[in-house]
Assembly symmetry: C2
Homo-oligomer: 216 residues x 2
DNA sequence: GTAAGATGTGACCCTGCGGTCATGTGACCA
DNA sequence: TGGTCACATGACCGCAGGGTCACATCTTAC
């Protein structure tokens, strides 16, 4: 947690520091990010920085917290009653909010990506300890319920596909932001529909049910 | 490329240096890897290191080249006649060889993972310039041919699924090495079959063809 | 034996890092 | 006016990084 001194700062100064820091972490990863650069670009003295934050990690964890708060705002209202919707609808909403967040906050998305990439680093565990334990579990529960309701084949490996579905979210985001568009627009919805159709029916030809999900 | 001096070295010394370096890059990522540590662990003087290699990048690219050569040996003989097999068989073989390589060369796999994670870093482009242009193209061609032969639905987005299939390989490897086993054994084949079945039929319930792919 | 060339060596250079601290400054209150 | 307290400052510290270089030591050939 930042020190009181930081929160006593005028808001524009605080925002400036955060913006500069986000930019820095998006460009350089935790280890290579430089406090010297951050203070230079923020126009504050290095000593001041350490009046605001304990250390580099303190700043980073604070930014991650800001990101998490911001991310919650993207969640669909459908998620408030997960039992009332089928799993594919829920996954669609989750993916949508994640892509929208990534598209509208590319620097946060970049930081997450860099973090995910450095799974060995000490900072990774520090961050994940705060936020991640629930993600895979959530998809596992989702799958189990969906199987019970007959929406999903009962013979799948739940753990494996909880992992796959959680991770494929990142893949779809990467594909979308890299090859389709940098912004959240109607093509995003098309991309998600394509993926959901695949998730449901696969890419194999001999499947009478396929193409149902795609209405493009 | 390493200098002549390096190749004039006795083989055991060369191997030792490579082993130490691989270990270092597997643990620390390109930027954080330390030449000081490498020379210390190899028992050579720092000056000697720069008689062998131009710089850190020179060493790293050389190791990547070694990895690529080693990886080729894992490729299935089926890949010599890709036209004679259906796309799911080919994907199975590609995934198998990738997992086997990762399982038997965990440190190389770790280096790749770290590299993939730092897509912004200069070293990433340097490596990918050598090796990557063909990967997505390969899967695109594979998909187009498969569609022409009626193995794959004609309505899919080829570019998107070339990307997904290439990337999901990494996901399956990660899942396998993290949750199933550290070695290449029969469970690996089961994991791949589960994935192929998913790729072909999806996870949706209303699919008369599903479960065909799984014979466990 | 000795000259020449290839190899080996580690002290050393510069740079940038995260982090500290003595000192300065200005607002507020008595 | 003087004291106090929150905040600002940048020179400075120790350290580790990549990379260099003058010199020592081996190998080979005549």
């Amino acid at each position: 947690m930042p020190k009181d001194t930081f929160f006593n700062l005028p808001e524009d100064k605080r925002t400036l520091i955060c913006d500069v820091a986000i930019h820095e972490f998006a460009e350089y990863s935790f280890d290579r990010a430089s406090i010297n650069r951050i203070v230079a670009k923020s126009g504050i003295a290095k000593g001041s920085f350490y009046q605001y934050f304990e250390d580099k990690q303190d700043l980073f964890l604070y930014l991650m917290q800001l990101a998490a708060e911001k991310k919650v705002n993207y969640l669909s209202p459908l998620m408030h009653n997960p039992d009332q919707h089928d799993i594919f609808t829920l996954i669609r909403e989750i993916y949508k909010s994640a892509i929208q967040f990534a598209a509208e906050n590319p620097e946060y998305a970049e930081i997450s990506k860099k973090l995910l990439a450095n799974k060995g680093a000490p900072i990774y565990r520090e961050v994940m300890a705060d936020s991640f334990p629930s993600a895979y579990m959530f998809f596992e529960t989702l799958l189990e319920n969906a199987i019970a309701r007959g929406e999903v084949r009962a013979d799948i490996d739940v753990k494996m596909f909880a992992y796959m579905i959680a991770s494929m979210n990142t893949l779809v985001i990467e594909y979308y932001t890299k090859y389709v568009a940098q912004h959240y627009d109607k093509k995003m919805l098309e991309t998600i529909e394509k993926f959901l159709d695949f998730l449901k029916y696969g890419i194999g030809e001999n499947n009478s049910e396929s193409q149902k999900g795609v209405k493009l």
